[in-house]
């Protein structure tokens, strides 16, 4: 590949200039400010700088540098450049017009007939033809001073961040440079694999065959995860739709049932009109017949009542008489018993416990008096000395001792020996006569009471009291029985006696007039009904019959029945389904009500059906309008959709697995490659270093990080002590080594912008030899302001910047 011509109408300070070039070495020798560097920059910009601003972002540096700043007030709004270059006989032209407004135009054409006017297409074509990216050309082919400086710093291990970046850049550039002949760099492959891996396997775990994180933003989901989720969504929606379909089926079934019921009711109602009269006649006849039946029953009851009425009344009277007679008999018996005992009691002297108590109280008082004067406590030994007995008595006259003996005297006593003596032993001051008088008084009262009751002592009196109490109790009992009986039958004796008195004698004298006997006869006539009720019922039956004019009614009703029977016989037959109707109006009302209810239910079912259909439609539409997934094939057929998605998912998994595996292989290959993958680069570099320096300076042992030891003799050189000439030597050696890698098979070109100014003549000559060596297979554009180079290069073409 070679550059044939560079030209412009306006670019930076150049106006209407061109530079024509040829194969091999082109020495562009011009004085300062003649535009050497500008026309080289014009070539680079024409090849790589887009004519229009990218994304409306102007490249301010480019514009500030290249739009002319004129002093005559004339403003240049457009700058331009044209490059003519050739590869494999195909001659290409790139023309670019940059405007200040950023709306430039560009054009590519070649002799094979390819033309482009779109910036990206032109950029790709340039990359394809040049075999490298703009970066490679900017830093290596176009002799970047910055790159040269940073390369040297890096080679001498000057450590700061900027240089580290440079080191990385150099490494990348070497990689790109090496690969650029393939057009495939590791980073590009990395990008594609990462993209495809994510495109298929994003948010997908190939090991577990499942979605990694369902909450992750959908933009990070790959096709496999998406299709899996889409499939789940379709299956879930299908299940919902199928449930709704079941609901729909149930609604239809209910609808059919209800509608059938409604039609049946309506049909019956419609047919009813034809037979309404017949039904009414039949119902009326039924009613009349029932009424007549009731009347006939009353007639029969009346007849029976009449037949038994006298007998019943007689029995009723007999029963009443029998009852009174039985009551009278019972009452008089009780009355006699009572009165007999009462007479017996009345014959006795009433005596009670009160009476005996009174006598016993007196005894107690006498005892008390007897014992008054106690407190004496002497023992008397009585010995009877004569015939006269010794008597010792207490105050009440009772004997304490008679005759001889020993006696303990503890109260007042009188000791007497009749005819001999009388001795009273008493406490001092005690009035014996008063006590004795009192005792006598009490004793007198007791004696009187005994006499009153005709007894001799208290024991006998107790017996009398007991007898009297028993008799009194019996009298009271009999009296109570008698009174209670009257009370129970609710009559006074006088009433009963009167009732008994007026009972006819034939009843009193008749046999079988006991209550039980009469009841037997009543039962024979009345059954379980008592005679009084029986008689009342009879009376009522008879009176009602008369009062209601049953006889008349029977006559009228019989006429009605006969009339209706005749009508019914003439009426249309009543269908069986209406045979149970007793009220046609009620039947109509009931049916109408049922029909209305069923119509309401049908309305509800219609509403439900619409709701279900709407729900199904909403689910179907929901899928179609789902923005997360592609449902363009969905035609409401879930099984088709599921089949399709399963096929797509299977295909996505297959392809995704390929990219997933490629990613692993990529990482392995990447890890296995050295950072500087170019065998021989370090050898070339060291060879060129040694050649240019003539052995005074050499490089040794470049490592993978592009670090190198530069030595002068036996002294290791550092960046700080590096001379300008040696720095140029190192930079040129490095650049030539890189150019060899960029264009390993030749066919490239390189710019050399006065690279030898600080070298001594010997180094210059050796450098020129290396450049000539490079120029054998490549085009060299050597730009200088020193005429010496015109003759220094063998077979060099001297080129001038000319007017167009």
């Amino acid at each position: 590949m070679k550059i044939n011509r560079i030209s412009c109408n306006h670019f930076a300070g150049l106006n209407g200039k061109k530079l024509e070039l040829t194969d091999g070495i082109n020495v562009v020798c011009e004085n300062n400010e003649e535009g050497k560097s500008t026309i080289i920059d014009l070539m680079y910009q024409t090849l790589f700088q887009p004519a229009a601003d990218k994304n409306d972002k102007p490249d301010k540096n480019f514009k500030a540098r290249n739009f002319p700043q004129r002093t005559d007030g004339v403003e240049t709004s457009v700058i331009d450049g044209d490059v003519l270059f050739e590869k494999d006989g195909n001659i290409s032209t790139i023309s670019k017009r940059w405007s200040k407004s950023g709306t430039g135009t560009e054009y590519y054409s070649d002799t094979e007939g390819t033309t482009y006017d779109e910036s990206d297409a032109i950029a790709q074509k340039v990359t394809e033809v040049l075999g490298g990216t703009s970066g490679v050309y900017k830093e290596i082919v176009f002799d970047s001073k910055r790159f040269k400086s940073e390369t040297i710093k890096n080679l001498f291990k000057v450590s700061d961040k900027e240089i580290k970046d440079t080191q990385k850049n150099i490494s990348e550039l070497l990689q790109v440079t090496k690969d650029s002949s393939d057009g495939v760099s590791m980073s590009k492959v990395d990008s594609v694999i990462a993209f495809k891996d994510k495109m298929f396997g994003g948010n997908w775990d190939f090991d577990t065959d499942s979605i990694v994180d369902r909450s992750k933003n959908k933009k990070d989901w790959g096709n496999i995860a998406r299709l899996t989720a889409q499939l789940e969504l379709v299956e879930e929606t299908r299940d919902k739709v199928e449930h709704l379909e079941m609901d729909k089926s149930r609604i239809y079934t209910q609808w059919d049932e209800k509608e059938a019921q409604r039609l049946e009711h309506q049909s019956k109602l419609n047919k009813l009109g034809v037979v309404t009269d017949a039904i009414n006649n039949k119902v009326a006849l039924g009613k009349a017949q029932a009424e007549l039946k009731e009347l006939n029953k009353r007639q029969a009851a009346y007849d029976t009542a009449r037949e038994v009425s006298d007998k019943a009344n007689l029995l009723h009277k007999e029963y009443e008489a029998a009852v009174i007679m039985e009551q009278y008999k019972n009452a008089i018996s009780l009355k006699s018993s009572y009165e007999d005992k009462k007479t017996e009691l009345d014959a006795l002297i009433p005596v009670t416990d009160k009476d005996t108590k009174k006598i016993r109280d007196r005894y107690d008082q006498i005892d008390k008096l007897n014992n008054s004067g106690s407190g004496i406590n002497v023992t008397a030994f009585v010995e009877q000395l004569g015939d006269a007995p010794v008597q010792i008595k207490y105050l009440d006259g009772t004997t304490a001792l008679e005759g001889a003996g020993e006696i303990t005297i503890d109260r007042i006593v009188e000791v007497s020996v009749p005819g001999v003596m009388k001795l009273t032993i008493k406490p001092k001051g005690f009035d014996i006569s008063k006590v004795r008088e009192q005792i006598m008084s009490y004793s007198g009262e007791v004696a009187k009471d005994f006499e009153k009751f005709g007894v001799d002592g208290i024991a006998e009196l107790d017996t009398k009291v007991s007898d009297y109490r028993e008799l009194s109790d019996e009298v009271r009992k009999l009296e109570s029985e008698y009174i209670n009986y009257l009370s129970r039958i609710g009559k006074t004796w006088e009433t009963l006696e009167e009732q008994y008195r007026i009972i006819p004698d034939e009843f009193k004298n008749a046999d079988n007039m006991s209550v039980d006997a009469v009841k037997v006869r009543i039962a024979e006539l009345c059954g379980s009904v008592d005679i009084e009720s029986f008689c009342k019922i009879n009376e009522k039956t008879i009176s009602d019959y008369v009062n209601d004019d049953v006889e008349g009614k029977i006559k009228n009703t019989t006429e009605i029945v006969n009339s209706l029977t005749a009508k019914v016989a003439d009426d249309v037959p009543i269908p069986k389904e209406y045979s149970d109707i007793t009220d046609s109006q009620q039947y109509t009302d009931d049916k109408t009500k049922l029909i209305n209810e069923l119509e309401d239910q049908l309305k509800v079912l219609a509403f439900d059906l619409n709701a279900v259909n709407d729900s199904i439609k909403a689910l179907n539409d929901g899928l179609r309008s789902n923005v997360d997934y592609d449902f363009s094939h969905f035609d409401n057929d879930y099984y088709e959709e599921i089949k399709r998605l399963n096929e797509d998912l299977e295909e996505a998994k297959r392809e995704g697995k390929i990219w997933h595996d490629l990613r692993l292989i990529f990482e392995q290959v990447k890890a296995a490659r050295p950072l500087v993958p170019h065998d021989g680069f370090d050898v070339d570099f060291m060879k060129y270093m040694t050649h240019i320096a003539g052995g005074s300076v050499s490089a040794a042992a470049m490592n993978d990080n592009l670090s190198v030891n530069v030595v002068s003799g036996v002294n290791k050189m550092s960046y700080e002590i590096l001379s300008d000439g040696t720095a140029e030597t190192v930079a040129l050696a490095f650049r030539l080594a890189m150019l060899k890698n960029v264009f390993p098979d030749g066919g490239g070109f390189a710019i050399f912008d006065d690279p030898l100014v600080n070298m001594d003549d010997e180094r210059k000559q050796r450098s020129i030899e290396l450049i000539e060596e490079f120029a054998k297979d490549n085009q060299v554009i050597f730009v200088t302001c020193h005429n010496e180079y015109v003759s220094a290069f063998k077979d060099a073409s001297v080129r001038k910047i000319e007017a167009v």
Partner: protein, 410 residues
């Protein structure tokens, strides 16, 4: 002896939305034409009975009345009686819209809907004046985990001298993907145990028996599912057809003869085209060979490719397919996922410098499919067919970004 023509799964009212939106009117019309073909055939062969085994209509709701009317009118052209059972798509209900339309449109005495689970006895059928009893299993819902055979199992079916035909709609064992038994699933043995002489069933859109030919032959099969008269999708890419089944009865022994009649006029073809060897025009030739027998006017193609081709064909693969398939009724997006430019070691070495990353990477891939895939993309990178933007996104193709959705977008 009676001669029956059996069809089913006709799906009139299918809307053909989605990818067929632009051709839906043609597809709808062709469905009618296809049924008419079958009816004409039935008349031509002087068939005695014509059966529709369910899903005459695509849905119970929203089938246009004129579609129902047209279907009924076509069926009524059969010279004798047509018996229809509802399927799960057009399940029966007294007030289901499509059957209301049907009743309103059916002014023909020879088109009979069997909507009750009860035997229907036909007398004097065919030249032998046979007695035929039909046992219809009726669908009353879109899906059901219980089939509708229950009442038939309880019938005392008279075998002697009577031709008994069961009509049913649902997933027959082994014939559909109703793995969850949601669609009136019927077991083979379950059907065969019932003492009818033949079962005419519908639901699966494929044929059973699958080996019937246009020539009538004696069959031992009892279950006949003609599939749809016109295919609906490429998932069942057989031709649409109807069955012709002749049943003769001698005492209790029935003899069945059957053949098929291809009435479909739209063919869905889903194929994977295999490229045997990567030679000049391998893709073109293989594709042309595969499609040469299909009628362009009536064939819908869904094609994928497998194999390797040379670079020129690979680059031009879509254009080649477009060119070869020009004029076909419908062609879906091509499945190029398994088509590769062949990446032999020699090919890799000719494209990439030995020792370069691309070369090392490709030689490091042992799986040929993966290597072909990687090769394709590395060539794309080399030929600048892939654009790398500043934010590390990758795009490819004329229309810029590779869409996540276009997973076949090679």
């Amino acid at each position: 002896m009676i001669k029956c023509v059996v069809t089913g799964d006709n799906h009139f009212g299918k809307s053909y939305g989605g990818r067929f939106e632009s051709k839906k009117n043609i597809l709808i019309e062709k469905r009618f034409e296809s049924l008419e073909n079958l009816v004409n055939k039935a008349n031509d062969i002087d068939a005695d009975l014509f059966f529709v085994t369910g899903d005459l209509f695509d849905a119970e709701l929203d089938v246009p009345r004129d579609v129902v009317k047209r279907a009924v009118e076509i069926l009524a052209k059969f010279k004798k009686d047509v018996y229809i059972i509802p399927g799960n798509h057009d399940f029966y209900g007294e007030h289901v819209e499509v059957w209301q339309y049907f009743r309103q449109c059916n002014h023909f005495s020879n088109v009979v809907l069997l909507s009750s689970p009860e035997p229907r006895t036909l007398t004097d059928v065919g030249k032998d004046k046979d007695t035929v009893v039909l046992y219809p299993a009726i669908c009353t819902a879109k899906n059901s985990d219980t089939n509708a055979l229950g009442w038939i199992k309880k019938q005392s079916i008279q075998k002697n001298g009577v031709i008994n035909i069961g009509l049913a709609h649902g997933a027959v064992q082994g014939m559909s993907c109703d793995n969850e038994l949601r669609y009136y699933y019927m077991g083979i043995e379950e059907l065969e145990r019932i003492n009818v002489d033949a079962w005419f069933v519908g639901h699966a859109h494929v044929q059973r028996p699958a080996d019937l030919t246009e020539n009538e032959e004696v069959r031992t099969d009892k279950i006949y599912n003609p599939g749809t008269h016109q295919q609906i999708s490429s998932h069942n890419d057989t031709e649409g057809c109807g069955f012709i089944v002749t049943i003769s009865k001698d005492g209790s022994k029935a003899t069945l003869k059957a053949s098929k009649y291809s009435c479909g006029n739209i063919r869905y073809v889903k194929k994977q085209i295999k490229i045997p060897v990567a030679t000049d025009d391998a893709l073109r030739n293989a594709l042309a060979d595969e499609v040469k027998d299909y009628d362009k006017d009536s064939t819908i193609l869904e094609l994928s490719f497998k194999g390797t081709v040379l670079e020129d064909e690979y680059i031009e693969r879509k254009e080649i397919c477009d060119e070869v398939l020009e004029g076909f009724f419908h062609v879906d997006d091509y499945g190029f996922g398994n088509l590769y430019e062949e990446a032999t070691p020699a090919k890799i070495d000719s494209e990439f410098l030995t020792g370069s990353f691309a070369s090392d990477f490709l030689h490091g891939i042992t799986d040929s499919v993966a290597r072909n895939t990687a090769f394709e993309y590395l060539i794309d990178i080399k030929k600048s067919r892939i654009k790398f933007t500043n934010n590390d996104k990758v795009s490819k193709g004329a229309d810029g970004d590779i869409d996540y959705y276009v997973y076949r977008g090679k």
